[in-house]
Every structure is written in structure tokens, then in C-alpha cells.
């Protein structure tokens, strides 16, 4: 693999929250245009990995290369401008802002972001609710909004944390369609997911995390063969 295909390379990443040592030497690679999942049990360090990429944890050490640039010592807002869009687990919809203000909030970090019209075509519900305060939206609408607002920014690397969590099956299916659509448009996506059945058909590769390290890598082709091992690791 070379730098032309690699968009994200994490090497020997350690991360802390205060005194607690969460990541113990993460190593993984995400190539351009790939959809990759981070799987694992609760507390394994999946969410922390996404947060560490953006410098949102406490102390970090090791190496995180984004688009060929070392970011381990960079400030969070500068890392974002390398073209990263982040959708946090708690969705992070701002209650003091209307739906459309939420949508327009993140500044452009690269050229080629989707237009408002394209976004409303992809998420028609959001157009209907554009003037509602963020906190009045349903869980599904909030999740769509949290994804939609990072598509406007031109970010090509999307970090999506538990986007299917707590949503009705019909909305989960709709989100799976959105991920496929984004992949076909060339986005690179890292998904943290609890719901393996949601993630399995979408991803090119799965990384299984345990105690803050990658313990298994499963490509799409190996999925059937490694199912037993995955069941064991994930407890599903």
C-alpha cells in the first residue's frame, strides 16, 4: 500500500482520558474510498479512537497520518481542515440552533461539498423541519442532520459514531442506503458500530478492537470464514 491510496494511517496510537489509558497502541489503515468499521464491545475504545483522530481526547501519542500529514501534535480545528467530518455518538445537535442553522454551522474544510439542495434531496425530512429548533427533532431526524451537516463541508473522510443506535429499523435501512450512496460518490468512511448486521454488508473491511488495540482484521471476502471468530470477539 502506498501514500496515494492511503487516506488515514494510525500507528502505535495511545490515548488517555485524564489518568485512564484507553488506547494501547492502535494500528490501522483506511484507504481512499473505503468504508471501514471499528467493531468491539462497549468500552473497547472504538469511540475513543475516532475522538483521538480529531484530538478530542486527553494526551495522545503515536502517529496519525491524514492525507500524508502527521496530525498528532495539531490542534483539533486544524485537523478538521484536512478534510475530516465528524458525527459524534451523541449526535451533537445544537439545541439553541434551528435545524438549518445546525446544517449550515460547520465551515467548509475543503472544496466540493454538497449543496443544500443536494442534501435536501438526500434527506427530504430535513427540508420540512428546517426551521424547527434542533432539540425538537426526532432521534432519526437528529441523526440525519448530524450526518447531513458534515456533507456540506467538503470533508472526504467521514468519522461516523454509532449512527444506527436507538433508531427504528426503517430509518436504519435508510441510513444504510445513505452510506452506500456516499461510498459511490467516493467518500471514505470510518464507522463505529455496535449493530454488526447494519455494518457487515456496508464495509470493505472490519477492524475488531479489544482493550484499546486492533485484535482482528476481517475483509469483506473473509467475512463468512471468520464469522465464528467474530461471534466470539463481539459476543453476538
Amino acid at each position: 500500500m502506498n501514500a496515494d491510496t492511503e487516506l488515514l494511517r494510525v500507528t502505535g496510537l495511545h490515548a488517555f482520558y485524564g489518568d485512564s489509558h484507553i488506547l494501547h497502541g492502535m494500528d490501522f489503515v483506511v484507504n481512499r474510498g473505503e468504508v471501514v468499521t471499528l467493531l468491539g464491545r462497549n468500552g473497547a475504545g472504538r469511540t475513543t479512537t475516532l475522538r483521538a483522530i480529531l484530538g478530542l481526547t486527553g494526551t495522545r501519542s503515536g502517529s496519525i497520518m491524514v492525507n500524508g500529514r502527521e496530525t498528532i501534535a495539531m490542534a483539533t480545528h486544524d485537523i478538521a481542515h484536512l478534510g475530516i467530518g465528524y458525527c459524534p455518538e451523541e449526535r451533537g445537535i445544537f439545541s439553541a440552533l434551528s435545524a438549518e442553522e445546525n446544517l449550515l454551522l460547520p465551515p467548509a474544510v475543503a472544496s466540493g461539498g454538497m449543496t443544500l439542495a443536494e442534501i435536501y434531496t438526500m434527506f427530504p425530512n430535513l427540508q420540512e423541519r428546517r426551521n424547527s429548533p434542533g432539540m425538537r427533532l426526532s432521534g432519526g431526524e437528529q441523526q440525519m442532520l448530524a450526518i447531513a451537516r458534515i456533507l456540506r463541508t467538503g470533508a472526504k473522510l467521514l468519522l461516523l459514531d454509532e449512527i444506527s443506535e436507538g433508531l427504528a429499523p426503517v430509518i436504519v435501512q435508510m441510513l444504510a442506503g445513505v452510506i452506500r450512496e456516499l461510498k459511490s460518490r467516493g467518500y471514505t468512511i470510518v464507522i463505529v458500530e455496535q449493530n454488526f448486521r447494519f455494518a457487515a454488508p456496508l464495509a470493505d473491511r472490519h477492524y475488531v478492537i479489544e482493550h484499546g488495540r486492533i485484535v482482528e482484521t476481517v475483509t469483506m471476502n473473509e467475512l463468512a470464514a471468520k464469522m465464528d471468530r467474530l461471534h466470539l470477539l463481539l459476543g453476538i
Binding site: 478530542l56 490542534a75 480545528h77 478538521a80 459524534p88 451533537g92 445544537f94 442553522e101 465551515p107 474544510v109
Partner: protein, 304 residues
Amino acid sequence: MFEFLGITPQALYSQLLVGLINGSFYAVLSLGLAVIFGMLNIINFAHGAQYMMGAFIAWMGLTQLGGWLGDSTLQINYWAMLLIAPLLTAAIGIAIERTMLSRLYKLDHLYGLLLTFGLALIIEGLFRYFYGVSGQPYEIPEVLQGALNLGFMFLPKYRAWVIVASLSVCFATWYMIERTKLGSYLRAGTENPRLVQAFGINVPLMITLTYGFGVALAAFAGVLAAPIFTVSPLMGADLIIVVFAVVVIGGMGSILGSIVTGLGLGLIEGLTKVFYSEASAVVIFVIMVIVLLVRPAGLFGRER
């Protein structure tokens, strides 16, 4: 109208005017506190000292600068000082934020309050050391001298200007925060600064500038106050206690709440002077106690 209570309309109007003037100062000052608290989570106890610095810088520019530079004709007038004094005070505020306050954001509110309280005492002490406690007079700019005859009362021009200027600044600040893109960054940053930064916005810079802006509001109020109240090192300390009561009543961090509450309480204070002047010094604190008991988050505050 109220003759049967022994109150003349003139007394009523003039106290309402005084109330409106005081309310304007409460509004601008509590607005600055609200902006700072929202973004920095710090209760800026140095606000009164920064208000006093605004007034002092205006006074120095008008009466001292020429002497210092050896050319007695050299002076910076009121109008220029409406801009320069807030900018200078904000610059000092920004230096304080960068070197001291920025270290306290992760700690409890109490630490920021203690630090800014200490700073207020130091700043006021320094000014008292150099200029004493007796006030310095500051002349009303010529165009605003005199009064307008409104038919039912005489309205001193300068007081009318203070009300117009304060309300304009309050409205502009409200509009900037509630209706513009920059304001949406501020509102979002108040709610979840880490996420706003993860979207690529330089939140630490935004915090620093927000503090500078809040301090500038205090200094602006100070310049407005210079011709009305005498310019003295303790002018802020006297006022800030009432302003904190206003902030508590309005609800910590609420922009609209601080403006409306500031004006409203100024008027209530003025009315109290007319009807039962003995209570006018405490009426705001009585209201504060009642509001705290009934709605601890304040009239416009959101329960957390």
C-alpha cells in the same frame, strides 16, 4: 395623576428617567457578563473594574494626556474615546484571558470568579493609589449639553443619548448573537465547544475574542457613565453588585434576559424611589431573593 399620594408627575417622570438611565447601564453591563459567562463559563468579577477603566481612560484622554506629553492642547475627545477606551480595555482583558483565565476553564466556576475578584481588587487598588477615592469630573461633550423640552418634562440631552447609545449597543449585540453566522458559532460554542472545534472552528481564538468583546462592553458603559457619575476608582465596585443581582434575576448567560432584566429593574428601582424611597436601595435584592426561591435558573434562564 398620583397627586392624592403626594407625588407630582414631574417627580414620577424624572425618577423614571433616572431608572431608565440606570437600567441602561445594568443592561449593557449584565449583557457583557452574560456573553462572557456563556462562552467562557467564567463569572467575570472584574467587570466593574473594567467599566471603571473605561471611564478612567476617557478621563485621562481628555484631561491628562496633554500634560503627560507636554502639550496641553493635546486631548482625545469623548467621541473618539467611545471607541478607543473599549478597545484598550479589551486589549488588557485579552492579555488577562490568555495568560490567566485560559488556565481555569476546566475547573469549577468558583476559580474564575476568585481570580477575577482578585484582579478587580488589584486594579481598583492601583487606581486608588494613583488617583485617590475622590471622583474626577468629566465634562459632557458640547453638542449634548442642555435639555430638550418634551412638554411634560425637561430631558437632558446627554441622558437621552445614554439611553439611545446603550439600547443600540444591546440590540446590535443581540442581533449579532441571535441572527448571524458568527452568532451561531457562539451559540453552538456555548453548548458544545469541543464539537464546534471538531468542525474546524478555532474555538480558543473565539473564546479570547468573546472575552475581549464582553470587556469592551463594560468599558463602553464606563465611557458613557463618565459624564454622569464622577470618575472614581470605586465607581465599578458600587455598581457591579447590583449588576450581579440583575444577572441572577435574568438568568446566567441569557442574552435577551440580561437586556430586558437590566432595563426593567432600573425602572422598578426608579419607581420605588417615587413611591417608597427608603426601599429603593434594596428592591432589586428583594426581587433577586424571590426569583431565586421561585425560579432558581432566573427569569430567562434555562434549567440545567
